[in-house]
């Protein structure tokens, strides 16, 4: 019989424990969201609910005004993510493939944006958005989101685009393509794995963003899900079942997007590691 590889056994054990620790809070939230108040106090946290209390979801949805906050989150995320990614991709293409004087300086300036913690910029950001008259508007929050997303995305995509052989661009130029065509017909299809990875990261980050939304969206009618959740928590802190149902509803869309794109995500992280 083959001797077990103790290193692998140890590695797997650690992985399983880590995964269990990681997933425990989710399980806890999910189970609690399906229990009645009485059941929550009567059973241990990981006990299964006797009869799933779906009503928690319906009640939380109504009491927390989730219909409005959910819609706000959807609008903001669905505009911000594609628009920001498109801008970043175009900038990354120009920085990676076009001969522009001073392009490295421009890139460094963009990269510099990632080095400033955005909390530092919250106050100036507020006065800027305020002076533009965009407080309490979707645009007022989408523009800063894009601005803060661009540096990181440009960094990743520029690295990806630089590894596309120069001859491919040149062949396309000789084929009669202009830069827009090359970007659209060749670079975007080639970088789908990287784009998918960025879609996930950006979607989750935008969906869950709290601080900037809190500062800029002051009217509760414009609140996004995390703000709605905070408000709900303030009002119904003791209604554990409904609170956890609210948390699940907030987190679920991001989790679904992650599950849809995760195979591209993993592909994206390893793309280019092995020559095709």
């Amino acid at each position: 019989m083959k001797r077990p590889d103790w290193f692998l056994v140890a590695l797997w054990t650690i992985l399983v424990i880590a995964a269990a620790l990681w997933v425990a809070p989710f399980v806890f939230i999910l189970l609690t969201s399906l229990k009645t108040e009485a059941e929550i106090y009567a059973t241990t946290v990981f006990a299964l609910p006797a009869h799933p209390a779906w009503s928690n979801y319906a009640q939380a949805w109504g009491r927390g005004n989730f219909a409005a906050t959910f819609l706000n989150s959807v609008i903001i995320t669905c505009i911000k993510v594609p628009l920001g990614l498109l801008l970043s991709a175009m900038a990354a293409y120009a920085l990676a493939q076009m001969r522009i004087p001073g392009r490295n300086t421009v890139f460094l300036a963009i990269l510099f944006g990632t080095m400033i913690p955005f909390q530092v910029l919250l106050a100036p950001l507020f006065s800027l958005v305020n002076s533009l008259g965009l407080i309490n508007t979707y645009v007022g929050v989408i523009l800063p989101y894009i601005a803060f997303g661009v540096p990181y995305q440009v960094f990743v995509l520029r690295g990806f685009f630089r590894h596309v052989p120069k001859e491919m661009t040149e062949a396309a130029l000789l084929d009669g393509a202009n830069h827009l065509t090359i970007f659209w017909r060749i670079f975007l299809p080639l970088s789908l794995p990287a784009l998918a990875a960025l879609v996930i990261l950006d979607f989750v980050a935008t969906w869950n963003e709290f601080a900037m939304a809190l500062v800029i969206l002051q009217d509760s009618g414009r609140w996004t899900l995390p703000l709605g959740l905070m408000s709900f928590q303030g009002q119904f802190a003791s209604a554990y079942g409904q609170l956890n149902a609210a948390i699940v509803m907030t987190v679920l869309p991001a989790a679904i997007v992650y599950l849809i794109f995760q195979r591209y995500f993993i592909g994206g992280l390893t793309a280019g590691a092995v020559k095709e």
């Binding site: 040149e170 062949a171 084929d175």
Partner: protein
Amino acid sequence: MATVALRDLRKSYANHEAIKGVTLDVEDREFVVFVGPSGCGKSTLLRMIAGLEEISAGDLLIDGKRVNDVGPAQRELAMVFQSYALYPHMTVADNMGFALKLAGVKTEERNAKVAEAARILQLEPYLQRKPGQLSGGQRQRVAIGRSIVRNPKVFLFDEPLSNLDAALRGQMRIELARLHEQLNATMIYVTHDQVEAMTMADKIVVLQAGVVEQIGSPLELYHHPRNVFVAGFMGSPRMNLLPATVTGADTNGVAISGPGGISVIVPVEPGSLRAGTKVTFGIRPEHLTVDPNGTLNGRAMIAERLGGLTLLHVELQDGTLLVVQTDGADATRLHEPVRLSISAPHAHVFGPDGLSAEHLRRNPLTV
């Protein structure tokens, strides 16, 4: 089809000049090969013609029109790259039809042209595959097909066979030569491999350090190299080049005395060569023969037996090494005395400036 003319073409970078004034005429339907060692500027020159590198000075004319400031696509050239540069996410058919699609050619016409190119290149079974599913040779054929469908004025090839293995390279060489016949196209081809240059070219341009060393037909370069560099670069195995001294010069030629007892009268124009001038004596391995009555004494140190022919590395009495090409059936034993004779009419004399002394009689194939 088209002519290409280069007029004192130059390319300068911040701190050096890569192309130092190249003047060249490529005739209609001619197959011209740029050849030279790595870094000689041959690829840069090709890329300047393609429009991928800016021209620093001089004029580039295609069909008599100056195109220095015309974009790559508008020059109506097609280029085949060493790395193939196929679009990996497109099928073979889409790769070949991409230029036509961008030009707004209708689907039917496009498909017909792609099918025609695929037929010429025997790519029909692979039209719906992606480049990743093809072998190196097939990919290179797709890259060639991509240029054929555009019906360009001039085909440009940048070391297209370098990534292929030796057998495939030989096969593709024949295919390219056939394609040139079939398409009746003007072609400019860059390679560092002088065998490719010799076998395919109508005209060879030998480049070194951004300067044209010689332009001529393959046999002209072989029989009448203009200088030591071309003599050493063209021909395989390489020409033997030895330091020598002129002992006499008259209308019959130049008498040479070289190392290892070499003494020969080479039938070349003496020009400025006088007794005592230091020169370089050149003799190709195939113009040395093992001959019991030969004047040179030495020993064969190494024999490279290639089957059809044998290359003997002979050490003369003073230690000078000569490469001699003999028959495949040559029975010369190693480390035993051997005598060599020199075919004087085929020998070369290069003056102190490196330039070749003109032969009194040119090779009949190069006249």
